[in-house]
């Protein structure tokens, strides 16, 4: 396997993009990434496109050729492959792109993630999102995605003394960071009291513990590291790409408060990169729900089991912490266009490693991590990236 570099990144604004279609946002992100990489379309080997539910959400399947076509590339007859793994679809697409370049099957590929969620009402988006849980044995019996995460939260509070306020801190932090990100769905700061007093969704989680439904797209260009300097002065090396799966239903997990898929994907990724969690300066973690943000910190190895609530409350993962999480605003504030999330996380890490993150830039960013989860943790994907000096 050869070393792989991220040569270019692109991303649309996330949010309720009522005036823009799925194909428009997909193409915008892709072209931004190609221009950033200074790569011509003729050099490309394939497109890997992460998307969760275009069939249910916009009645359009077969979307990889659609994007290639409207990008003006139909005549190049590239391979276009769509990849689905719930909310982890984008990170899975990156994994496939990494495999293609690392193996030598392709030299240069575009990895995209795109989702159009606001072309349907919220109730319909909720129904589609719940399809990433076990439909037959969870959803039919009254479960929703927030309800399943709420049950994980309740057990975490019971076992480790995690408080409602500690959960809420994750959302407050996300909006604080999102306020500095021009692409974020939400750029308003929110108070702890606002999170605690928000309309209940599934107790103990309220409206502001849950990431929104957003439209958006993101893309990166990958190529072999040894040819990267031809295209960019600031290549970022993709050190590790790992995927792990677990049971579909939460009730079948070994333990209620641990995502074994994340634990295993992270262990494999740190072993692959020959790095440790303590080396990571900046991380994008899966804060689709405040509880998922907290347990990610434990499962990725950044804090001891059960300590995430107290550690987060102490500011350990804020802008001045040794590790800063979700500088983009995370899923909570930057937004949650399901299939685009995993790619957008990597876009943010690359910007941080290059020193191009504007007002939200952290100092001394050499190693970054991106963590994406499908459903309630049946799929987890972990990527590690480092700046090439």
């Amino acid at each position: 396997m050869r070393d792989v570099a991220i040569l270019g990144v692109g991303q649309t604004r996330f949010g309720e993009l009522w005036d823009r279609s799925f194909r428009e946002i997909g193409i915008e992100a892709g072209f931004q990434a190609l221009v950033d990489a200074k790569l011509s379309s003729g050099d490309l080997g394939a497109l890997y496109l992460g998307n969760m539910a275009s069939g249910s959400l916009i009645a359009q399947e077969h979307i990889a050729p659609l994007i290639l076509d409207y990008a003006g590339l139909a005549g190049h007859h590239l391979g276009g492959i769509r990849i689905e793994g719930g909310g982890a679809s984008g990170a899975l697409a990156l994994h496939e792109g990494w495999l293609a370049v690392a193996s030598g099957a392709h030299d240069f590929v575009v990895v995209g993630g795109a989702e159009k969620l606001t072309d349907v009402p919220d109730t319909e988006a909720n129904r589609v999102a719940s399809g990433t849980a076990d439909h037959e044995w969870e959803v039919v019996f009254g479960a929703t995605l927030p309800a399943l995460w709420a049950m994980i939260a309740r057990r975490h509070m019971h076992d480790f003394g995690t408080t409602r306020e500690q959960l809420a801190r994750v959302a407050v932090h996300a909006h604080e960071m999102g306020s500095k990100n021009p692409n974020a769905h939400y750029r308003n700061k929110i108070s702890l009291e606002a999170v605690l007093g928000a309309t209940p969704v599934a107790e103990p989680l309220g409206m502001l513990d849950c990431a929104p439904f957003s439209d958006g797209a993101a893309a990166v260009v990958l190529g072999p590291l040894d040819r990267a300097r031809k295209f960019t002065d600031t290549p970022v090396r993709l050190l590790a790409s790992q995927v792990a799966c677990d049971t579909m239903a939460v009730h079948h997990r070994r333990e209620m408060t641990t995502l074994d898929s994340t634990v295993v994907a992270a262990k494999r990724a740190f072993a692959q990169a020959r790095r440790a969690p303590a080396d990571v300066r900046v991380a994008e973690i899966h804060d689709a729900y405040t509880i998922s943000g907290l347990i990610a910190l434990e499962d990725l190895g950044f804090v001891e089991k059960g300590e995430s609530g107290r550690a987060f409350e102490s500011g350990a993962f804020g802008p001045t912490g040794k590790l800063t999480v979700n500088t983009s605003g995370g899923l909570k504030a930057q937004g949650r266009p399901f299939g685009a999330v995993g790619v957008a996380q990597v876009v943010e890490i690359v910007r941080q490693l290059r020193g191009e993150a504007g007002d939200r830039q952290v100092g001394g960013a050499e190693l970054g991590l991106a963590h994406d989860v499908g459903g309630t943790g049946a799929t987890s994907v972990v990527h590690l990236m480092e700046r090439v000096n």
Partner: protein, 164 residues
């Protein structure tokens, strides 16, 4: 959901029919074709035995749902729990016959056959298990059913509406 898709799971949803691995004797619900934990798990293929769950268990964790799953809109707020059965398997289901605010981790419950949801005014009605507290003291006073007649304030018998 098509009628067949729900109907084919009837033995599981109505009667909690699980299965057991003949080698390691682990019990599963819903039934599986392959034992995931058994060291010789390929030997379990085609040999898993039917095994009836008692329906008794305790709450491992729970939530009170306000933003309902599809078809549960009329039931909010409802308690939803993961229940560990005495035979071992864990299930997700709602907890009924108790005020949702009284549900707690460790609450002993028993499966009860109930209406789950209906597909609109003219669609299929889905039935299956929910959980009720085993200890009677958790149960709210029984409300009169549709067939029961209660005297109105004026003394004339009127039909009472049934609960959900």
């Amino acid at each position: 959901m098509s009628v067949a898709r729900f109907w084919r799971e009837t033995p599981r949803r109505y009667n909690l029919g699980g299965c057991r691995c003949p080698t390691c004797e682990t019990v599963y619900f819903p039934p599986r074709g392959v034992c995931p934990v058994c060291a010789k798990h390929r030997q379990s293929i085609g040999r898993m035995e039917p095994y009836q769950l008692s329906g008794e268990g305790e709450v491992v964790t729970f939530t009170i749902v306000h933003d309902a799953a599809e078809g549960f809109e009329m039931q909010v707020p409802y308690a939803l729990a993961i229940v560990r059965t005495v035979e071992g398997p864990q299930l997700t289901g709602s907890v009924v016959d108790i005020d949702p605010s009284e549900v707690s981790i460790g609450l002993r419950v028993r499966a009860t056959f109930r209406k789950l949801r209906e597909e609109g005014a003219a669609g299929v009605i889905h039935y299956g298990y929910k959980f009720a507290p085993m200890d009677e003291r958790h149960r709210p006073p029984k409300r009169p059913g549709r067939s029961e007649r209660v005297p109105s304030a004026a003394g004339a018998p009127v039909a009472a509406t049934s609960g959900p």
